[in-house]
Amino acid sequence: MRTNKLFIVLKYAAIILLVMYILLPFLWLIIMSLSSSADLTTKPLHWIPGKIDITSYKRLLLVGLNSRGSLFLYGLRNSLKTALAAVIISIFVTIPASWVFSRYPGKKNIILKIAIFTFMLPPIAYALPLYRILSRIGLLDNSLSLALVYCTIILPFCVWLIKENIDTIPYDLEEAAIIDGAGFTKRISLIVLPLLLPALGTVALLSLLMAWDEYFYAMLYTNSQNAITLPVVISNLASGRQSNYNLIAAGGVLASLPPVCIGLLLQRSLVRGLMMGGVKD
């Protein structure tokens, strides 16, 4: 019995440690964003700010020509635009393709393998020519072309997950439709798609988070309010010659809000999405 008690104490100790490990860094980021500069530049630090200071949020969210706030909001808008466009294109393109891969396996699996293989390529391997191509046709600094570039990251991922999901939809359902003389489009849109919807939502969300997170391409291919995305805006904000720690922290908190909220609200379906590819194996 004693070992059991010891086990419980250890377990709770471990859990408290875990919660602190997860929470403290992010909590500190939030506290920083609400502190005044003076509180953040004392030695040793004031852990709890003397008074809550929201000026950094104001500076990031108030709009005016050439103001920091408008750049930040442009970044937010562009991030949303780019990520959504990338996800919509990817899903739209992958549904029919995944359906083919699932229903007609065989040599087409090569394409699937290639898609998954592209996972392995470092973005740097095609960033250079893409830069040249986009610059030649005048599509640098453009949300739509950036979204197309993001497809390189999202597409392989979507193909993989969606195919796995279509595999779980029984073929018998379609056979009935074939007898009725339904073509591909009908079979996909009327039979497969409704059953696929929940999984599709998960895949879309995961891809959205992936696109939201992207920094490398955005840094290379965008430079103005036209298309610059949030990660680039806040990394510029936080770069070397800026020592307003509270402003940087506020930017970080704001940029994390959408994905963190999505994560906390829809955790179960997200994790299921992450498992999809793996469990069957």
Binding site: L140, N236, S239
Partner: protein, 422 residues
């Protein structure tokens, strides 16, 4: 829960398309409306706010021109200029560091504005300014500010250690630092911006000057493996003797300013902008009488003082379709009136400004120092491949400061590498 994901995506979709976020769409404008894009630098002086204020005034005077300003940190400025230049939307006007002019000109990126410069600018500007914006006899930019890294010292600390005077030589300065440390007045008397960045080169090159050495010989061959060793050994000695704040190796200028302003260092090198901020009660715990500033003294027996240029100019990019307007804009930004108005953090490039009592008021030390600095200021190599040479030097200088390689060998290897640049 299951359909929540899809719903959320739809919600975000509608949000992205909603008018709140659609402020960026082009408003319908008059036929002659011209849009300019300016790429500047996120820094203390001139600050983003200052530049935006100047720009707003400029737009008031020129209602047909709308200027969009963008600011990136110094470390990204050159890359961004190059990358944007390759795109379909290059900037119209950009801020150019003195070390980049040669490279930009060699790539044909800058507009030759030799004939468009008003005589008042040519005659009234500090001579040093036109030197770095001129390549092969042609002018490619308007000087915006002349600057160097000045030696800042904490007078109160020096007095507490019994020193009434500012140091007169490098050796003198080190002796003072030792005394400060021994008397427990400050733990690390020195702090410099020695992060792996151009800031390191600025600090190093100032000491290089102080020891009377230079980067290259007359033929443009790097000779630091012999001439540069002393300056590097000096920095290494400071670090090994515990006089240099060890965090210096990750610091840029703003970090250094924070440390100095909090009273955690007695000596540092920084640009002119720090003077106003170090004495500003909102930004600093130091009082006005604590802060001394001077041109870095030279090594005894070699030189009296040393200064290395860290100046920047404004240029019109060759691809800009609006030469006239862009030029008007950069001339406005560097005009005497504007520069006098915003001279709090950055001293003007106009000779006449320095006799203005208003400009001198409250910062005689700084104005005196700058006058002296501008007359002796040297420049880092202005060559197309300087950026790469600098990156190599940064790495080896840091390695030497970490004690991985002896200074002599580090510089030898660096020079060897630089000579191999394709």
């Amino acid at each position: 829960m299951k359909k929540g994901g899809l719903f959320l995506v739809c919600l975000l979709c509608s949000l992205a398309l909603s008018p709140v976020f659609a402020t960026g769409s082009k408003e319908s404008q008059g036929p002659e409306q011209i849009e300019l894009r300016f790429l500047g630098m996120a820094q203390a002086a001139y600050s983003e706010q200052n530049v935006n204020d100047m720009t707003a005034d400029f737009m008031k005077e020129h209602p047909n021109i709308k200027v969009y300003t963008e600011f990136v940190p110094y470390e990204e400025l050159r890359n961004k200029t190059l990358l944007a230049y390759g795109s379909n939307r290059p900037y119209d006007a950009v801020l150019v560091d003195d070390i980049w002019f040669a490279e930009y000109v060699s790539k044909g990126m800058l507009r030759d504005i030799t004939d468009q410069i008003p005589t008042s600018y040519k005659k009234g500007g500090l001579a040093g300014g036109w030197n770095f914006t001129t390549k092969q006899g042609k002018v490619y930019g308007v000087p915006w500010f002349l600057d160097t890294m000045y030696l800042y010292y904490n007078t109160t600390m020096l007095k507490a250690a019994g020193f009434q005077q500012a140091p007169t030589s490098i050796e003198d300065m080190v002796a003072m630092g030792k005394a400060l440390k021994e008397k427990w007045i400050v733990e690390y008397p020195f702090v410099f911006s020695l992060a792996q960045a151009e800031a390191l080169m600025c600090v190093y090159s100032n000491f290089l000057e102080a020891y009377g050495a230079s980067f290259q010989d007359k033929n443009g061959k790097y000779t630091l493996d012999t001439t540069g060793v002393q300056a590097l050994e000096f920095l290494l000695q400071l670090k090994e003797n515990g006089l240099l704040n060890p965090n210096s190796l990750e610091y840029l200028e703003e970090d250094v300013r924070r440390v100095f302003s909090s009273g955690d260092a007695a000596f540092t090198l920084n640009w002119a902008y720090m003077f106003a901020l170090a004495t500003d009660p909102k930004e600093s715990s130091l009082k006005k009488e604590d802060v001394g500033v001077m041109v870095l003294p030279g090594a005894s027996g070699i030189k009296e003082s040393a200064a290395m240029s860290g100046s920047m100019g404004l240029s019109v990019l060759a691809k800009s379709p609006h030469l006239e307007e862009a030029l008007a804009y950069i001339l406005y930004l560097s005009s005497k009136d504007v520069q006098d108005t915003y001279s709090n953090l950055q001293l003007p490039v106009w000779t006449a400004s320095y006799d203005d009592p208003k400009l001198r008021e409250g910062r005689e030390l700084l104005v005196e120092a700058s006058k002296k600095a501008f007359s002796i200021m040297n420049v880092r190599p202005s060559e197309p491949n300087y950026q790469e040479a600098s990156a190599i030097l940064q790495q080896y200088i840091q390695s030497a400061l970490y004690g991985d390689i002896p200074p002599q060998k580090a510089l030898q290897e660096a020079v060897q590498k630089i000579s191999e640049i394709k």
